[in-house]
């Protein structure tokens, strides 16, 4: 599903901007390396739910992305003489983020497949692993390898090589794709699926941390590039790739992954899983609440302003200019209401990102405000129409201008009439702000996913955020009711 959305977005980008599909190798001068060195930072994109490649760990009380891929990133940054900055997002979004310049490189246990090579440039391989299948320990006897799952379902991360290979190389087996590995493990433990295909180091990490799991060899027939990981750069950044390759070659030569990186990651995994109680992660949830509220409050504010403007624009009558403005406002409202908010969020982040590089939080707020404004406009228009014409006449007969009439007489009454609808919109936004988790804003859903992959506990964090969302929406609705009552004069 999400993959389709990405394809859709890419298509839009390609059509509207003629950029995404343009071979960037055509660039006359390759300034990729110079640009990064000038910037002084190398931004690495990764999907931190794939231990021991990358995952969230609590280090000195702070949540941090760690793992062998981060170590690889550090090494490359050091080789270039710049600082590493790690940006987390869903695996699906990584390559789009790379193409649209949101990140400089992607290290996320990514296999340099021929299909991917068409769109991005890869370094040499920094790691060669293999695939395993994780199963429930109680059922370990039932399965030996990929061919034991006839009539059953196995899971793999959407957009990953395992997903494609599982589809290709099994018969009579259903393959279920999910965005995050922690969701897959949860599905496994609740017997929705019989096994999860993942890379061997990951499988080892999960099995080591969860006593109810076991691993079996996959026996997938794989070419070298499919079982290995490389660093991805934007197409055409030859100089940058060459510089990164120096570090990658060193890593291979000194076997740093097996000698240093994996053991170090293992240690984080151990300290990470010592305390998996939800209380231990209150800070993560608090951050989630904070961002959810920031997004909601800002979006409600800007959405409301936009809504007022749009609703007034939709009521313009008169000359050509006014008609044109009304037509545009109507078209905007119809278009926004006719497209999914998720697509809008991705379009603002990745699409608008081609023109101005907006941070994910800002993009999220912009997208949700733009979306909310369209809905609020319709509420307000309805509210204005519900105010008796006599009110306008009374105000106009007192010499008030049409603007003053709208502002002092009509809008306050319209607002009172639509207050319940506006309140609903606010509460809806608290919940719908979760959509921005796909672009990596650390709101509540995103944070809960981090806690889930940190603790290897699937259900508890979901239950926690469910309660937290309810507390927020319930409190909000009480506050709104209070205001509604204080506005009642009749």
């Amino acid at each position: 599903m999400k993959k389709k959305v990405i394809i859709f977005i890419t298509l839009i980008l390609a059509i509207t901007l003629g950029w995404a599909t343009r071979p960037t190798t055509a660039h006359a001068a390759d300034d990729s390396l110079v640009r990064v060195q000038k910037k002084g930072t190398l931004v690495m994109g990764t999907s931190p739910d794939y231990p021991p490649y990358e995952f969230q760990a609590t280090v000195h009380g702070k949540s941090k992305i760690v793992g062998m891929d981060v170590a690889v990133g550090e090494k490359i940054a050091k080789g270039l003489g710049v600082k590493l900055k790690v940006k987390s997002m869903s695996f699906d979004s990584l390559l789009v983020a790379l193409q649209t310049g949101k990140v400089d490189m992607v290290i996320s246990g990514m296999n340099p497949t021929p299909a991917r090579k068409k769109n991005v440039d890869f370094t040499h391989l920094y790691y060669q692993g293999g695939y395993s299948i994780v199963v429930n320990k109680s059922e370990k006897g039932l399965y030996h390898d990929k061919d034991s799952f006839k009539g059953k379902t196995i899971g793999a991360q959407t957009g990953s090589t395992m997903y494609n290979e599982s589809k290709k190389q099994t018969t009579d087996t259903k393959v279920k794709g999910m965005t995050s590995v922690s969701d897959l493990i949860l599905a496994l433990q609740s017997h929705k699926i019989a096994g999860v295909a993942m890379e061997k180091p990951s499988a080892q990490a999960y099995v080591a941390n969860n006593k109810q799991l076991a691993m079996i060899p996959s026996h997938f027939d794989l070419s070298a590039s499919d079982t290995s990981a490389a660093v991805a750069f934007k197409k055409g950044s030859t100089a940058l790739v060459a510089a990164a390759n120096k570090s990658v070659d060193q890593i291979r030569k000194q076997d740093l992954v097996n000698q240093d990186y994996l053991p170090a990651a293992g240690k984080y995994l151990k300290t990470n899983t010592v305390n998996t109680s939800m209380w231990h992660y209150w800070k993560a949830f608090l951050t989630g609440i904070e961002y959810t509220l920031i997004i909601t409050v800002c979006s409600v504010f800007f959405g409301f302003i936009l809504g007022v403007i749009l609703s007034l624009a939709r009521m313009l009558h008169g000359g050509v200019v006014k008609t044109l403005i009304r037509w545009l406002a109507t078209a905007y409202v119809e278009f926004i209401r006719g497209t999914p908010m998720m697509v809008q969020v991705m379009f603002v982040y990745f699409g608008l990102g081609l023109i101005v590089n907006l941070p994910a939080l800002t993009s999220g707020i912009i997208a949700i405000s733009l979306n909310s404004g369209a809905y609020v406009a319709e509420y307000i228009r309805g509210g204005i129409n519900s105010v008796d014409d006599g009110q306008t006449e009374a105000a106009r007969s007192l010499g008030m201008t049409s603007g003053a009439t709208m502002r002092f007489v009509i809008l306050p009454q319209a607002l009172k009439n639509i207050w319940p609808s506006l309140g609903n919109e606010f509460i809806t936004l608290i919940k719908d702000s979760s959509i921005v988790s796909i672009i990596g804003v650390s709101e509540l859903i995103f944070q809960s996913n981090i806690v889930r992959s940190d603790t290897y506990r699937g259900v508890a964090p979901i239950a926690v955020i469910m309660v937290l969302y309810f507390i927020m929406t319930f409190t909000a609705s009480r506050i709104l009711n209070h205001f509604e009552r204080s506005m009642q004069h009749d």
């Binding site: 009374a394 007969s397 010499g399």
Partner: protein, 246 residues
């Protein structure tokens, strides 16, 4: 001779194919109380609303103090509207504001006078209509008669030169008609120029300087109350009077 306050010339108003006002030419002098009467649907309210341009005339001219409203820009029209208070059949008080706020709003927002001054003036006007004890009430808690008196006070707050009344007692329970009419009479006694559309023949007889009888989109008769009620000239007026006086 002083200029007329309102001058209407060849006024016509169509709603689509329906021609409500056909050709009206009349004038209102300073201090006059004009009562417009006529059968329902004869265009009385439309006529009144054309006087302050709440309805835009289809053709013809409406002049206020010598300025032709139909040729002025919106800004000037707004300025002139201030000087023409209007009272509606349905009161049209602002339900989200208290009585006091209803009265203060336009003086503060249009004339820009201070809150303190507006409050003082509002209390004076409320005393004039005998409602000062209701200053903090909200419109929903008022009786029809009280609401209409507040509406009159609200219109007076702009110090209008003319007051237009559009069937001010038609929506009232019978026992409340008197209190509104007495406020209107009091205004007339103070010399306010008024144009009143009403069905209250008693008021017309005792307060009006001129009766304008309106039917079929024309003002059919323009005479004193004594003349009109004793000797109506047109068949339309005779017919109308025979029906209402029984």
């Amino acid at each position: 001779m002083t200029k007329p306050v309102i001058e209407v010339q060849n006024l016509a108003k169509d709603f689509g194919k329906n021609s409500v006002l056909k050709d009206i030419t009349e004038q209102v002098d300073a201090g006059q109380v004009i009562v417009v009467i006529g059968p329902s649907g004869s265009g009385k309210s439309t006529f009144l609303r054309c006087l302050n341009l709440l309805e835009t005339p289809t053709s013809g001219h409406v002049a206020f103090n010598g300025e032709d409203l139909t040729t002025l820009d919106t800004k000037r029209v707004n300025a002139l509207r201030e000087q023409m208070g209007m009272v509606f059949q349905g009161f049209n008080l602002f339900p989200n504001m208290s009585v006091l706020e209803n009265i203060k709003l336009a003086p503060m927002k249009v004339k820009g006078i201070s809150d303190a001054e507006a409050t003082k003036q509002a209390h004076e006007l409320l005393q004039q209509v005998n409602l000062d004890d209701h200053a903090d009430a909200f419109p929903a808690s008022l009786s029809g008669g009280q609401a209409q008196r507040v509406a009159i006070a609200r219109a007076l707050a702009m110090n209008p030169k003319v007051m237009l009344f559009d069937e001010p007692t038609s929506a009232l329970d019978p026992e409340m008609v008197g209190e509104v009419l007495s406020v209107m009479q009091q205004l007339a006694n103070q010399g306010m120029t008024m144009v009143v559309v009403t069905h209250e023949m008693g008021f017309a007889k005792s307060v009006a300087d001129r009766i304008w009888f309106m039917a079929d989109g024309y003002i059919q008769e323009n005479s004193t109350p004594a003349e009109f009620f004793a000797h109506p000239q047109t068949e339309r007026a005779k017919d109308f009077l025979s029906k209402i006086l029984m």
